[in-house]
């Protein structure tokens, strides 16, 4: 059941993905057959991905699905072992982070990659300072304020080291930095992971603002509400492979989760069914949910074992 459904969803949703990207013109960035191995571990196998200007692509998948590796390939931290990257219609190689920046691919890493000993302005312009031999600190400060006001950032002063900022403020600085070189593609690696409710909303607003300004946005996220809130397209990775591309408006959370876990009968759906006790409308979506809701605790335990076995096989 599980192996069958995952391959089905992959073929069924490729068409949906094409439809979603087709409306916004040709893709600005497209990957074909990207593979990357670390020693004996194949972190990425044959990955295809497309994103267009003015589109938010959510990249989802379980831990170890290869999302972060894929981001690192795109941002030049790792180089792919095989496959091609096409950017604005031209095939490119991304050897290092500087090369990615020159192309116009900006990345906000999950760990933000800020230097805590430097202040906000220094961090924003790190590696792309104005006037290298005699730094133009005034121009940089003015530009920093402009950029941060644009993102409606709440920073009292820019002349304090990053170490004294809160998590949300740091996230804002990291996103602002990615926008400095006027990138075509902005990659956000779990931008809301460490943030509070209001700050998460701010970041989501920010993502929408990026899209409205014509940037292509790739957002990695574990949070289904965030994905549904801002993404146009969802690409699912599973165990280093493509496992479906969906247009967000045509797909249910359960389908996405099924693609992430590789089974319609999975720990998430069973938990959802158990906690809603079968009366919620969401539970009607799949047969597996119903079965789990009806079953006693002992049955669920048996299901768990069976599901685990299936997972290992696939």
């Amino acid at each position: 059941m599980s192996t069958g459904s995952s391959s089905n969803s992959a073929t069924a949703t490729n068409a949906a993905g094409k439809a979603a990207t087709g409306k916004a013109g040709g893709p600005i960035l497209s990957l074909r057959g990207i593979s990357k191995t670390f020693g004996a571990v194949a972190a990425l196998t044959d990955i295809d991905l497309e994103v267009s200007a003015g589109e938010v692509l959510a990249l989802v998948g379980d831990n170890g699905a290869g999302k972060s590796t894929l981001v690192k390939v795109l941002s030049g931290v790792h180089t792919a072992d095989a496959g091609t990257i096409t950017f604005q219609g031209e095939q490119v190689t991304i050897q290092n982070p500087a090369a990615a920046q020159r192309l116009g691919i900006a990345t906000v890493y999950q760990d933000l990659a800020l230097c805590e000993n430097l202040n906000v302005i220094e961090n924003l312009f790190l590696g792309q300072e104005i006037r290298p031999a005699r730094l133009d600190s005034v121009a940089m400060e003015v530009k920093s304020w402009e950029l941060l006001r644009q993102l409606s950032a709440k920073l009292p002063t820019l002349r304090i080291p990053i170490a004294s900022l809160s998590g949300g403020q740091r996230q804002t600085v990291a996103i602002a930095r990615s926008l400095l070189g006027d990138p075509k593609v902005v990659i956000l690696d779990e931008p809301t992971a460490a943030l509070g409710v209001a700050q998460t909303a701010e970041v989501l607003n920010l993502v929408e603002r990026l899209r409205d300004n014509g940037h292509a946005v790739i957002m990695i996220s574990h949070s289904m509400p965030d994905v549904r809130a801002v993404a146009d397209t969802v690409a699912v990775l599973r165990l280093g492979r493509n496992n479906g591309v969906f247009a967000v408006k045509d797909v249910s959370n359960e389908d996405i989760i099924a693609a992430i876990t590789g089974a319609t009968d999975n720990v998430v759906s069973r938990r959802a069914a158990r906690t809603t006790d079968g009366h919620d409308s969401a539970a009607d979506d799949s047969a597996a949910d119903g079965a789990a809701a009806d079953g006693a605790a002992a049955d669920e335990a048996a299901d768990d074992e069976a599901a685990n076995e299936r997972d290992e096989r696939s």
């Binding site: 890493y109 990659a113 220094e122 003015v142 304090i160 170490a163």
Partner: protein, 418 residues
């Protein structure tokens, strides 16, 4: 300038947040400094206070200590190790260390002496060769560090031994080479002093330069509608520097020989390095690598080039310091660069407030740090106490400096200035 008075520009772009509490003008600048110090951002304050305390204590113990002759001598004496520590600042800022600066400076002394005296080279050519040799050593360190990932601690520890061996070999059987007293090198290090009037001119130039750069910078900031230091505050600062320095110069020329050109050279190097560290892209990369290597790499900084530059700068300045030491002593021997040179250079940098963990420090650190070290050394020599006391006292002062740094760091953390 019109922005200053026009009400439209009442609040600068960077002061609009209502959470900011900041006074205006001279008073505001003073308050800001005070609260910064309270928050643990001590800057150069501890080392300046340390110098004052050392001065008072030794003056009480021996009233020759603060004599202008002794102070003039102290300034000259501090230059060779000061130059060595200047290079070390760059290495420490990236979070690495160079333990071999003493050996490299010793080898450089020996090479200069051999090329100049034994081989009959022009002295300036010999100096260039010695400094170039230093640069090559740094290049080798950087390559080993980058390619094999060996900790710099171990690489330079190996260098310490190896270059000491080469120094002994270069000096040959005699183990000591004297430089002729009438050579330009030795007279530069021992006899060339700035005439009194020119010292005043230099001091005035530095104060005027400080005011001019401050004023032009402030004007540019006001034009961009950013907050800026008031002209009064700038003028007061420059005037204070002018009066203070002029008083020191006046005192040094009372019965001493005044300020040596070698010390002027050292100060010039400090100012140049300070500019490079604070006002260039390279300087920001050095701090970034010291703060977070991975972040620096992802920001597109060529981290290998930064490491290479600091190692090369470290060993080149160490070699140049060795040349100056040989010139000052008018000789190169087996103990050149040995003994406490290594640790004094490191201690000077740390006492000056440069963090051993990278990412924090300044070029002025080495200037003030070496003055502390040299004052202690000079004071104990005046008291006829031997190296046993000197080593011990220097060690204790170094420990105090590190403790102070740790306490200040905790305070910074709790005041949100870490």
């Amino acid at each position: 300038m019109t922005d200053l008075t026009s009400p439209a520009a009442a609040v600068a772009t960077d002061l609009q947040d209502e959470r900011l509490r900041q006074g205006a003008g001279l008073r505001g600048a003073l308050q800001a400094t005070l609260s910064r110090v309270r928050g643990g951002d001590l800057g150069l304050l501890p080392v300046i206070l340390g110098l004052v305390v050392i001065g008072i204590v030794f003056q009480i113990l021996n009233d020759n200590f603060l004599s202008s002759a002794n102070l003039a001598n102290l300034l000259m004496e501090s230059v060779p190790v000061g130059v060595i520590s200047l290079g070390l600042v760059c290495v420490l800022l990236t979070g690495q260390i160079d333990l071999s600066v003493g050996s490299v400076s010793g080898l450089s002394s020996a090479v200069t002496a051999v090329l100049f005296v034994d081989q009959g080279w022009s002295p300036w050519l010999a100096v260039v060769a010695a400094v170039a040799m230093g640069a090559v050593i740094g290049l080798v360190y950087a390559q080993v560090f980058i390619r094999f990932g060996v900790p710099s601690f171990v690489i330079t520890l190996a260098g310490l031994l190896a270059f000491l061996g080469i120094q002994l070999k270069v000096l040959g059987k005699d183990g000591s080479i004297n430089l002729p007293f009438d050579s330009g090198l030795v007279t530069f290090a021992q006899l060339k002093f700035v005439p009194a009037w020119m010292s005043y001119v230099l001091v005035a130039l530095i104060a005027a330069g400080l005011f001019a750069t401050g004023y032009l910078g402030a004007r540019e900031r006001r034009r961009a509608r950013l907050s800026a230091t008031s002209t009064t505050a700038l003028a007061v600062r420059s005037a204070a520097l002018l009066v203070g320095s002029a008083a020191v110069v006046w005192y040094l020329y009372q019965d001493g020989r005044g300020i040596g050109w070698m010390f002027v050279l050292f100060v010039a190097l400090v100012i140049i390095l300070n500019y490079a560290l604070t006002r260039t892209k390279w300087g920001k990369s050095v701090f970034a690598v010291g703060g977070n290597v991975e972040a620096a790499r992802r920001a597109g900084i060529n981290v290998r080039a930064v490491y290479t530059s600091v190692f090369v700068l470290g060993t080149s300045l160490a070699a140049f310091g060795g040349v100056l030491a040989a010139a000052r002593l008018a000789a190169a021997n087996q103990s050149s660069g040995g003994g406490d040179v290594n640790l004094n250079a490191i201690a000077a940098v740390v006492i000056g407030g440069t963090s051993l963990f990278g990412g924090r420090g300044s070029a002025y650190a080495s200037l003030l740090g070496i003055l502390v070290i040299q004052s202690i050394s000079s004071g104990l020599t005046l008291l006829n106490l031997d190296s046993a006391y000197r080593f011990t006292v220097t060690g204790i002062v170094l420990l105090l400096a590190v403790i102070l740094d740790s306490v200040a760091r905790k305070s910074r953390a709790s005041h949100g200035r870490a």
